[in-house]
């Protein structure tokens, strides 16, 4: 049984909504590097592109949002957008919620430590503490969208999103939930920026994991959230395709099994030419990170782009690491071979990998959705 992608919600430094992301793909830009970043941070640090969650107030009574922090707001907005994209009114009490986050609520965690450092142990803020727990975004989503089915939050750095997706697909296959809101959310804060800045000056790549990998080019640190509404295969088609499989493994013992007809999307500081990474030479490998930025749940954004690729039946130009556009020959819809499968893969320097394969529905007609 496959999981149908019924709707997608994205929030990033580039803006809000799958239509916004789609336009960027169609227009070959703008690239994330061109977006505004906050002014210099304490102790130096990498700048980042923040997200704007003000749209949330159009959808929910402002007072109901008052205790939600940045991470939870970002996640809720993306989840709400996924329901809207699916034309689903929400409120299905049995809908499951599976959330991935690489770092969790870092801003709130350090704000909580601030209250202790400034006010003493007895000055610790209970509200900040309650928001610093990793499952706070999932809790707020269930509260605001009425999704009261199974509810889990997973965290394994850049593997987080594919882990959450595997849980969502499992729930659907088991009949634990009739639909699942699955997504990933990550936020950036000056402390992370400081750490990345310090680590990127270290020569010893083995000393730290890939979240602080330097990448091929000027990877722009970003934050954001991406959510999908999934249903079992019997649900009506949206055009985004189905999740055919979610695999995880560990090199060198396992190796990702790429279907022969798949286009491969990858990002997050991936080093294609490293001997450790078994990306097939004869397959088209595309890196769209430059449109949404670098963040642990980036694989989720790749999956959103993969869904658009399936729906539109075409590939899009890729921003390369220097920020200039790379036009891919032969990508016009009428010339490109039919796109049947798109893979999203993420491989860490330690060899852990997650592989998501989307497939187009055989009965899908390109003209069935505007």
């Amino acid at each position: 049984m496959k999981a149908v992608i019924r709707g997608i919600g994205v929030v990033g430094g580039f803006g809000t909504g799958i239509s916004t992301l789609e336009k960027i793909l169609m227009d070959h830009g703008p690239f994330i590097e061109s977006f505004a970043v906050p002014d210099g941070q304490p102790l130096g640090g990498e700048p980042y592109v923040p997200v704007d969650t003000r749209n949330l107030k159009e959808r929910f009574p402002p007072r109901s949002l008052r205790r939600m922090d940045h991470l939870s707001r970002t996640a809720l907005l993306a989840a709400a957008l996924a329901l809207e994209d699916a034309a689903d009114p929400g409120g299905n009490a049995d809908t499951g919620v599976a959330v991935a986050s690489g770092y969790g609520a870092v801003r709130t965690t350090f704000a909580f430590l601030d209250t202790i450092l400034e006010g003493g142990d007895a000055g610790a803020s209970p509200t900040l503490f309650s928001n610093s727990v990793l499952n706070a975004p999932a809790a707020h989503i269930s509260m605001h969208l009425g999704a009261r089915g199974p509810n889990l939050t997973v965290s394994r750095f850049e593997m987080s999103f594919s882990d959450a997706l595997s849980i969502a697909v499992q729930w659907l296959e088991e009949g634990r939930a009739p639909s699942v809101l699955v997504g990933g959310v990550d936020e950036w804060c000056p402390v992370l920026g400081h750490c990345r800045h310090r680590f990127s000056k270290t020569r010893d790549a083995a000393a730290f994991l890939s979240p602080f990998g330097t990448g091929r080019g000027r990877a722009r640190i970003a934050e954001g959230a991406v959510f999908f509404l999934l249903s079992p295969e019997i649900a009506p088609a949206s055009g985004y395709g189905v999740v055919e499989s979610v695999e995880s493994g560990r090199l060198p013992r396992d190796a990702p099994a790429f279907p022969k007809d798949a286009v491969i999307l990858t990002g997050i500081d991936h080093h294609r030419d490293s001997a450790r990474h078994p990306l097939p030479e004869d397959r088209r490998v595309l890196d769209y990170t430059g449109y949404y930025g670098t963040l642990p749940v980036g694989t989720g954004f790749d999956m959103a782009i993969a869904s658009v690729i399936v729906r539109r039946g075409r590939l899009f130009s890729v921003p390369d690491s220097t920020g200039s556009e790379t036009v891919i020959d032969g990508l016009q819809a009428e010339k490109a071979p039919e796109i049947r499968r798109v893979c999203c893969v993420n491989i860490t320097p330690s060899g852990a990998y997650g592989l998501i394969t989307l497939a187009s529905r055989p009965d899908f007609s390109k003209n069935s959705r505007p």
């Binding site: 430590l113 209970p126 727990v133 499952n135 999704a147 402390v191 493994g249 560990r250």
Partner: protein, 400 residues
């Protein structure tokens, strides 16, 4: 519809203030008076002391020798090692099959090292070891790396339900053939940051906790880890191992009510219990007892007692937290392991900390040890954010 193939528990491990292995923990449940104390590993300044269930320093020194790994990750690895030994899996054989790892935690996924942050705030350059340690200490990754495993690898962070969710998720892996063996459980160390947070929420007791008692006044934090080794029952038979237990069902549901308080009607807990238990009366009548979440807070115990009375009136229940404290991400796993042990023992303990029934609650826990009748038990967890998780466990047999 055909019932799913049974998922056997072939090994269990448990490390917490109640003991450094399963049998010591079980002994503690039946014979010792709880003795939580003020934390000794850190200092926190509050008007009153809030006792905790800390691991003995000697136990920690034994299992946490590597500064580059967090105590939480080391606890998880140690519990996994115990459980694997109990299951008769030697590391070499294990690394040849597809082995899943599913671990729950709350502290283990949070970067909140105070010394690091204090230095950062002061304008000096902080030592990066705490950050390196954070990135090396994802609990499931730590287990997979230690035993050189390949297979699904998941770290769940679902507040106080994490450990139960991990076991339930791994049960599904085994049923669906995602892996041949699964290492599932939870781990959490006592953290000064978490300690201050819970006190700020005003849900910790300044005395040993009293789950379901009329005068209960909050929880005591604890620390520890517990792991179950899950595999298909067919594989267990081939390996000729006696089962420690079976995991028959798992339910997860969200209250969707409040960031910290449970839904007063226990809606999520009821749904989770419903999913864990099959609908027929036969299953319900075989339930010998319920291992309750029973933290000792006013709200949690009230909700749980009402739900238990509605779903399983007259079925005995008890909380283990009077002996272990609330171990957060490990709680659901520690509780499941102890519940399985009690099923095999045929006896359940009195609920530690309980003495005066609460007239506002429709049910009360066990006061003394008693013999049980039935081969099934429920183990329930409730967590911040309205999380609920329930496991249905079946007796394995007499412990060898």
């Amino acid at each position: 519809m055909k019932a799913p193939a049974p998922v056997a528990v072939t090994g269990m491990g448990c490390i917490c203030a109640a003991g450094e292995d399963v049998s010591t923990c079980v002994q503690t449940l039946f014979s010792k008076d709880p003795d939580p104390k003020p934390p000794s590993r850190f200092i926190a300044r509050h008007p009153e002391t809030h006792p905790v269930f800390e691991l003995e320093a000697s136990i920690l020194t034994d299992l946490h020798s590597n500064e580059a790994l967090s105590i939480t990750a080391a606890l998880g690895v140690a519990a996994a090692r115990q459980a694997l030994e109990d299951a008769g899996w030697d590391p070499e054989a294990l690394s040849r099959v597809r082995t899943g790892v599913c671990m729950g935690t709350t502290v283990g996924c949070t970067m909140n090292d105070e010394a690091f942050y204090r230095t950062y705030r002061s304008g000096a350059l902080p030592d990066l070891l705490p950050v390196r340690r954070f990135f090396s200490s994802n609990p499931a990754e730590a287990v997979a790396r230690t035993f050189d495993l390949s297979g699904p690898c998941l770290t769940l962070s679902n507040a106080c339900c994490s450990g139960a969710d991990a076991i339930g998720t791994a049960m599904s892996w085994i049923r669906r053939g995602i892996c041949d063996v699964a290492i599932a459980g939870g781990a959490d160390e006592l953290s000064r940051v978490t300690y201050n947070g819970f006190i700020a929420l005003m849900i910790t007791d300044t005395r040993p906790c009293r789950p379901f008692d009329r005068d209960r006044n909050g929880l005591n934090l604890g620390e520890g880890a517990a792991v179950m080794i899950l595999e298909p029952d067919t594989s267990r038979r081939v390996r000729k191992r006696a089962p420690r237990a079976f995991v028959l069902g798992y339910g997860s549901a969200a209250d969707g009510y409040h960031p910290t308080a449970p839904d007063p009607g226990g809606a999520g807990l009821r749904r989770a219990a419903g999913h864990a238990v099959s609908a027929d009366g036969k299953t319900l009548s075989r339930i010998a007892f319920v291992a309750a979440h029973g933290t000792g807070t006013k709200d949690n115990d009230a909700v749980e007692a009402r739900v238990l009375d509605a779903l399983l009136p007259g079925i005995p229940f008890f909380s283990t937290k009077g002996h272990t404290g609330h171990t957060l991400g490990a709680a659901g796993a520690i509780q499941a392991v102890l519940a399985a042990a009690c099923l095999n023992k045929g006896t359940i303990p009195g609920s530690a900390g309980f003495s005066t029934p609460d007239p506002q609650l429709p049910a009360r826990p066990t006061r003394h040890p008693r013999t049980i009748h039935g081969d099934l038990a429920l183990s329930g967890s409730l967590g911040f954010g309205g999380a609920n998780a329930v496991l249905l466990l079946k007796r394995g047999g007499d412990s060898s």
